[in-house]
Symmetry: C2
Subunit: 186 residues, 2 copies
């Protein structure tokens, strides 16, 4: 599943979606860490529903934004950061994917963006929930569903599947998440 093995210049997208406080970040962070350790080039995207800036009030960059800058960049020896108002989410996502493929990224791990994930059949989709009731509300009856269930609810389920979706207990079986993503486990 490294670039040479895949043979095509695409970035595989992994979505970790689900309810609040269901373990999305822990699962996404684990996947980013393990894939990075395996030598893959990995990007991470966090989708946030509410108004948000990664910047902090009072910083010079924050002042520039408030002064009207439509793009704010900070450039240091350790980081380049570009901040701007987003365009159409779908277009932004497609452009990001293209850019990441050009830059040789193997994986993009996305936390959230459930609606977007439904439009990307090639993506790997992990659902996390706190309860079975939440799972029932989020697993569609239709054919295309999730690639697996993990997060907090995964420890509450007996058996390997729930409504036909494979359950991977987190963190006990976390390595199986990575094996599925990299195609070593089906």
């Amino acid at each position: 599943m490294c670039r040479g093995m895949r043979g095509v210049e695409t970035t595989k997208t992994i979505f970790v979606v689900g309810t609040k406080n269901s373990g999305k970040t822990a699962v996404a962070e684990y996947i980013v860490r393990r894939l990075s350790e395996m030598g893959f080039r990995v990007g991470a995207l966090k989708h946030i529903h509410h108004e948000f800036t990664i910047d902090s009030e009072g910083k010079d960059t924050y002042r520039m934004r408030k002064a009207g800058a439509g793009l704010v960049v900070s450039f240091s020896p350790s980081e380049i950061a570009l901040l701007r108002p987003p365009g159409d989410p779908k277009e932004e996502f497609n452009e990001l994917s293209r850019k990441m493929a050009d830059d040789g990224f193997d994986f993009l791990v996305v936390e959230g963006f459930r609606v977007m994930s439904q439009d990307l059949p090639s993506a790997f989709r992990i659902l996390t929930c706190k309860t079975k009731a939440e799972l029932d509300s989020l697993i569609p009856a239709s054919t295309k569903t999730y690639d697996c269930i993990s997060g907090i609810v995964s420890t509450l389920i007996e058996g390997y599947r729930y409504r036909r979706v494979p359950v991977i207990r987190f963190p006990e079986q976390a390595e199986d998440l990575v094996r599925r993503i990299t195609g070593q486990l089906r």
Copy 2:
């Protein structure tokens, strides 16, 4: 100086460079605000010499970076932020300039990056200092020098020029900075 008037798709770069605590941010912020108010599309870049992240320890995005992500993106209704280790500064700067021109930006206001500014003869360069001694150490004897002097030292100088460089007192004559940048004052 709006796009139509300029007739070419380029982004004019304005550098505000100088010594520490000499008023760089105040001058840069003023220029960003005034140009934005005039209807121009403005970007701002802050150059930082030391290790730095615009992110905050403990945030989920910060965790992703620490986990090994080579690119971290946060995506909210108010902001898309892309954070990654920088490449070669000159190449990064050129790519940013191209992208901003494509995106219809009229101006990029840069705080710092003095060395970079010396390689861009088409840029407008503002020097800020705290003292005349600092000015003497930074104004070169060669022909190409700064477009003007401003910031704290500007209030300590009598007359309109210092070593042949126009002095624009800040904040008293701040509007003249903008007039010079937009070509209304020579």
